[in-house]
């Protein structure tokens, strides 16, 4: 269901009111990410550009590394999808780093490396690394062991 222009205006107003009640934090980013499909549905209509301008400004002011620090990877993945749609290269990098860090903390080394590799445009090299059986995160005890 695509919202009509009036429905959209009212939904966007409700979003801004809900965001205004939470000046900082990852809630804002997640709320923006949840709203994105409604705006994306109107992206081909140039008369919706002012919403995109305003939405992009709200995203930019909400995005700070400290707001992403406590986000679980699945929420960061949603924010990353949004950053890839509307974010600047610096904003995309901020989210990429936060997601890579979150996967690394969760012990998902391969996923963490893949996020970095996607950001650097080195996906093929990263895939090759993992398919060759190389351990991207060898245990510390294995290093320097005499052969």
């Amino acid at each position: 269901m695509t919202l009509s222009s009036l429905q959209f205006a009212r939904a966007f107003g409700a979003l801004k009111a809900a965001l205004a009640a939470r000046p900082v934090g990852d809630h804002r980013l997640l709320a923006l990410a949840a709203f994105w499909p409604n705006l994306a549905a109107h992206r081909a209509n140039p008369s919706y550009q002012s919403y995109l301008d305003e939405y992009t400004a709200l995203f930019a002011e909400s995005l700070a590394p400290e707001h992403l620090a406590d986000c679980p990877p699945e929420n960061l993945a949603a924010i990353r999808t949004l950053a890839r749609e509307i974010g600047s290269p610096e904003q995309r990098e901020t989210v990429d780093l936060a997601l890579a860090r979150a996967w690394a903390y969760a012990g998902e080394t391969e996923r963490a490396v893949m996020v970095c590799a996607q950001g650097a445009g080195e996906v093929a090299a990263a895939k090759e690394l993992f398919s060759s059986g190389a351990d991207a995160n060898p245990p510390m005890t294995a290093r320097g062991r005499p052969s």
Binding site: S5, A11, A17, A21, P46, S47, A60
Partner: protein, 284 residues
């Protein structure tokens, strides 16, 4: 992750299917943010929109054509939209300082329900720019229409994206003014403007006709000092000689406001080498 707006609207209408409804209900029980968002939607929802039966495309085209025909020349008063009230919230020290105002913000919003359109007065802080944006479901309806400010006797023509610059309007006025949208009485479009850019001296003419049998003759004269275009209005349905007309010719991103046509004629010089021209006539 929060619930998306479409699901919340369907939930409000009681139209969400079993499993999804349970998921949304479960999320709302836990998530204060989505509860507040839902309350905001409840206050402002346009009731009954999702009850409509889908219309088959040919019928939709016919409906749009008849509807747009009926809208010709209409003046649409815009009603101020009440901003959604922010939920009461008590900030804790751990929430940090409130953010500064966003770089781009909407100062005021106005709407019309029939035809459905939204007018947004926008400000961009970094470049101190103000503009107004007309939002419509069909972008053609927002393009090249007049936005009127009757309080200060001002008119602005929107561009192809439904935007108009507000730099000429004083800051103090912007938030207090009444707005009207004036749709064109007659529209013509010349899709293929053919001329030889290497020739300086040439001439040619073409007649454009609207679906309502309005007719205009365009005469092109290429000269060393520029390209002169003369419009001669041959037939304008519902407009007589006594009516004062505003004529705009849109050349790419530039709009030429023509003097009131004398004896049904008006002329202007093309600024560039456009591939198409749009002509809009507004009865004053």
């Amino acid at each position: 992750m929060h619930v998306n707006v479409t699901d919340l609207l369907l939930f409000l209408d009681g139209k969400l299917s079993g499993d999804r409804r349970d998921v949304v209900q479960g999320h709302l029980a836990e998530c204060e943010f989505c509860r507040e968002f839902l309350e905001g939607l409840q206050d402002t929802q346009v009731v009954g929109e999702s009850d409509r039966e889908p219309i088959p495309p040919p019928a939709m085209q016919l409906r749009d054509r008849i509807y747009n025909e009926a809208l010709r020349g209409r003046v649409i008063p815009m009603t101020p939209m009440a901003p959604a009230a922010p939920p009461q919230e008590y900030l804790l020290a751990a929430d940090g300082r409130p953010e500064e105002r966003p770089a781009v913000e909407c100062l005021r919003e106005y709407f019309s329900e029939s035809p459905e359109m939204v007018l947004r007065v926008m400000r961009s802080a970094p470049d101190r720019r103000q503009w107004v944006q007309l939002v419509t479901d069909d972008p053609r309806q927002a393009a090249h229409v007049l936005l009127r400010l009757p309080d200060i006797q001002k008119e602005l023509l929107t561009d192809s994206a439904g935007r108009a610059d507000l730099s000429d309007v004083a800051d103090a006025d912007i938030e207090a003014l009444k707005w009207e949208v004036k749709l064109p009485d007659v529209s013509f479009t010349l899709d293929e403007l053919a001329y030889d850019p290497d020739r300086t001296e040439y001439g040619g003419e073409t007649v454009l006709e609207s679906s309502r049998a309005d007719r205009v003759r365009l005469r092109f004269e290429g000269k060393t000092e520029g390209k002169l275009v003369t419009l001669e209005f041959l037939n304008l349905v519902g407009i007589d000689e006594k009516d004062a007309l505003r004529v705009y010719v849109i050349e790419g991103t530039e709009a030429h406001a023509l003097e009131a046509p004398q004896a049904g004629r008006a002329s202007f010089r093309l600024s560039g080498s456009p591939k198409s021209l749009s002509i809009r006539l507004f009865k004053a």
